[in-house]
């Protein structure tokens, strides 16, 4: 008799497995959440606003990217556009996972999309690739997503509360930028992305004096166009 746990997991066991396989990433998620919480307060948000933003937006990189704009009282539409652009990777994630969710009601799909996180997405993708016939992928996804959300929020709120007692002289707001560096560096290893990153950086630095932080937008778009052109070029000449 084979073990029922390994061959026929129940939905509850799938949830627990989703949680269990996310936990090794706790230090990274925690550090990133903590830094985001601290950075929000260091950028001038008060505790209440920062906690609501953390709970509703649940978007570390978008929150960190928006902070300099909020501090400069940039127009709301620019903050929105920036948050959308920085979040675009989640469009790719949702395109990648949605095939398995087609049978669910639209509002369940919406909430499942809303709670996606970087680390749990990587774990979920690995499960789909290694065990395409796993019986309860949605339960596994939910376990990982909820665990990811809870770890992140605890760390973020801890950072928000602790920020008040951390002296400005520590320069801790740099840690928010370093968290973005940690996400960015592994993406630069592929060639067209690296070229796009280089162009985006140079254009953003040169365009720094443009009003409304438009240098950032210009940098992003130039980088994307260059990366896409470089990627398409060999295909066209084939």
């Amino acid at each position: 008799m084979s073990s029922p746990n390994s061959t026929h997991p129940t939905p509850a066991e799938a949830v627990r497995r989703g949680i269990r396989e996310l936990l090794p990433a706790t230090p990274g998620i925690f550090a990133w959440g903590l830094v985001t919480g601290v950075a929000m307060v260091k950028a001038g948000l008060d505790t209440g606003h920062a906690i609501v933003l953390s709970l509703l937006a649940y978007a570390g990189s978008a929150q960190l990217a928006a902070l300099p704009l909020i501090a400069a009282v940039a127009p709301v539409w620019l903050v929105f556009v920036t948050a959308v652009v920085v979040n675009l990777r989640f469009v790719v994630y949702s395109a990648a996972v949605r095939a398995g969710f087609a049978h669910l009601h639209w509002h369940r799909r919406m909430w499942l999309g809303y709670v996606v996180g970087d680390i749990m997405f990587v774990r979920f993708s690995a499960l789909r690739q290694n065990e395409p016939d796993y019986p309860h992928p949605v339960s596994y996804y939910l376990g990982g997503a909820v665990a990811n959300w809870i770890i992140w929020q605890i760390a973020s709120i801890l950072g928000i509360v602790a920020a008040a007692v951390i002296p400005d002289s520590w320069g801790l707001e740099l840690a928010g930028t370093l968290a973005l560096v940690a996400l960015l560096a592994p993406l630069c290893v592929r060639f067209p992305t690296f070229a796009g990153v280089a162009v985006a950086s140079i254009v953003a630095i040169l365009g720094h004096s443009l009003p409304l932080k438009l240098g950032l937008l210009l940098g992003m778009i130039s980088g994307m166009v260059v990366a896409l052109l470089l990627e398409r070029r060999p295909e066209a000449s084939r």
Partner: protein
């Protein structure tokens, strides 16, 4: 920063989260993205983060400091190396901050 402004940006960022993560789920599989759009989306996060990181590290208080005396810039480059070798976000943030504090202390 007025209350109205702050709540507006909080809602704007939250709506950006919902829009990017849930729109394709809600539309369902009927809607497929054009191949070119999907291809360019893959580069968007890296380019967006690069623009933000570069201008944040290269400038201090709106003055360009693109040189080796800029401790923030050096700490950022060091952090990138730590990330590429350790693949640990905690080590990247911790190591980068340590480098930043050491550089400020010795200069």
């Amino acid at each position: 920063m007025s209350e109205l402004y702050l709540w507006s940006v909080i809602l704007a960022i939250s709506f950006a989260t919902l829009l990017t993560r849930s729109l394709l789920h809600v539309l369902g599989e009927r809607v497929q993205l054009p191949a070119l759009v999907e291809a360019s989306l893959r580069f968007a996060p890296a380019c967006a983060m690069a623009a933000i990181v570069a201008s944040d590290l290269a400038y201090s208080h709106d003055v360009l400091e693109f040189n080796l005396a800029n401790a923030r810039l050096l700490a950022g480059l060091g952090a990138a190396l730590i990330q590429l070798t350790t693949r640990s976000m905690a080590a990247t943030i911790g190591g980068g901050m340590a480098l930043y504090w050491i550089l400020r202390w010795v200069s």
